[in-house]
C-alpha cells in the first residue's frame, strides 16, 4: 500500500524540474518539452486524488482527460508558432525573439 504522500512529492519534484526547464532553456522547443513535464505532474496528482478519494466519482479521471486534450492542443499550436517563427527569422532561440521588446 502506497500512501498518497509519495505521489504528491513525486509530482511536486516533477513540476519543479519542468518549471526550471521553462525558466532557463533558450530553445523554444525545449521550453515546450518542459511544459509537458509540468502537465504530467498535474495529471499524476489528479489521478492519485481520484484513486485515494471516492472512486465512483470519475471527476479526477475526466479532468485528466481534459488536461490531455489541452496538452495536445497546446503542443500543436506551440510547435506551429515555433516553426512559423523559424521560417521568418531563422531562429528558435527565445532570447533572440525580441520583436515586441521595447
Amino acid at each position: 500500500m502506497i500512501p498518497i504522500s509519495w505521489y504528491l512529492f513525486l509530482s511536486a519534484v516533477l513540476f519543479s524540474i519542468g518549471l526550471f526547464g521553462v525558466l532557463v532553456r533558450r530553445n523554444a522547443i525545449a521550453i515546450l518539452l518542459s511544459i509537458e513535464l509540468m502537465l504530467n505532474a498535474v495529471n499524476i496528482n489528479l489521478v492519485a486524488f481520484w484513486r485515494y478519494g471516492n472512486t465512483v466519482n470519475m471527476a479526477g479521471q475526466v479532468f485528466a482527460i481534459i488536461v490531455f486534450a489541452v496538452a495536445a492542443a497546446e503542443v500543436a499550436v506551440g510547435l506551429s508558432l515555433v516553426y512559423s517563427i523559424y521560417r521568418r527569422r531563422n531562429t528558435v532561440i527565445a532570447d533572440e525573439l525580441d520583436l515586441m521588446k521595447w
Binding site: 500500500m1 502506497i2 500512501p3 498518497i4 504522500s5 509519495w6 512529492f9 513525486l10 511536486a12 519534484v13 516533477l14 513540476f15 519543479s16 524540474i17 519542468g18 518549471l19 526550471f20 526547464g21 525558466l23 532557463v24 532553456r25 533558450r26 530553445n27 522547443i29 525545449a30 518539452l33 509537458e36 513535464l37 504530467n40 495529471n43 499524476i44 489521478v47 492519485a48 481520484w50 484513486r51 485515494y52 471516492n54 472512486t55 465512483v56 470519475m58 479521471q61 475526466v62 490531455f68 486534450a69 495536445a72 492542443a73 497546446e74 503542443v75 500543436a76 499550436v77 510547435l79 506551429s80 515555433v82 512559423s84 523559424y86 521560417r87 531563422n90 528558435v92 532561440i93 532570447d95
Partner: protein, 169 residues
Amino acid sequence: MDSTQLLFLFSSFLIVSSAVNVVSSKNLIHAALWLISTLFGVAILFAILEAGFLAVVQVVVYIGAIAIMFIFAVMLTRRENLESGSQVNKSWPFALLLVVVIAAAIGSLMLKWDGMNTLPVQIAEGYDSVASLGAALISPDAFVLPFEVASVLLLAALLGSVYVAMNKK
C-alpha cells in the same frame, strides 16, 4: 516493502532521472527521447493507480502523437549552431533559486496537511472504472459539456495550427 512500492520507486526513479535529462541535454532529439521515457514512467504510475484507460491514452496520445510531433519539430528547425553554445540563459541561478523556493513552499504546505498518510480505498468487487469513465463522459448529468468543449478546443487548435504554419505566398 511490497511489490507495488518497489514498482512505484522504480518508475519514480525513471521519471525523475529522465526529466532531469529532458531539461539538461544539449541535443534536443535526446531531450525528446528522454521525454518519452518520462511519459512511459507516468503511464506505469497510472497503471499502479488502476486507471487503465488513462495509462493506455498516455502511451497512445502522449508517446505516440505528442512526442513524435516534438521530434518532427526539432528536425524541421535544426541548425548547426543551435547545439553549440549555452543551452541555458543568463539568469539561470536566479531561476534555480526561485524553483527551490517554490518546491520548498509546496513541500511545507503538503507537510501541514493531515491526510498525507491516506491509503487507497478498496475498489468494490466488479466495479469497472473504464465503463463508468465512459458513462461519465457522455452523461448529461456528469461531464458531457466539458467533453464537447474539449472537442471544440481540439478543432480550434487544429485549424489554428494549420493557419499559423501555412506558407502564405
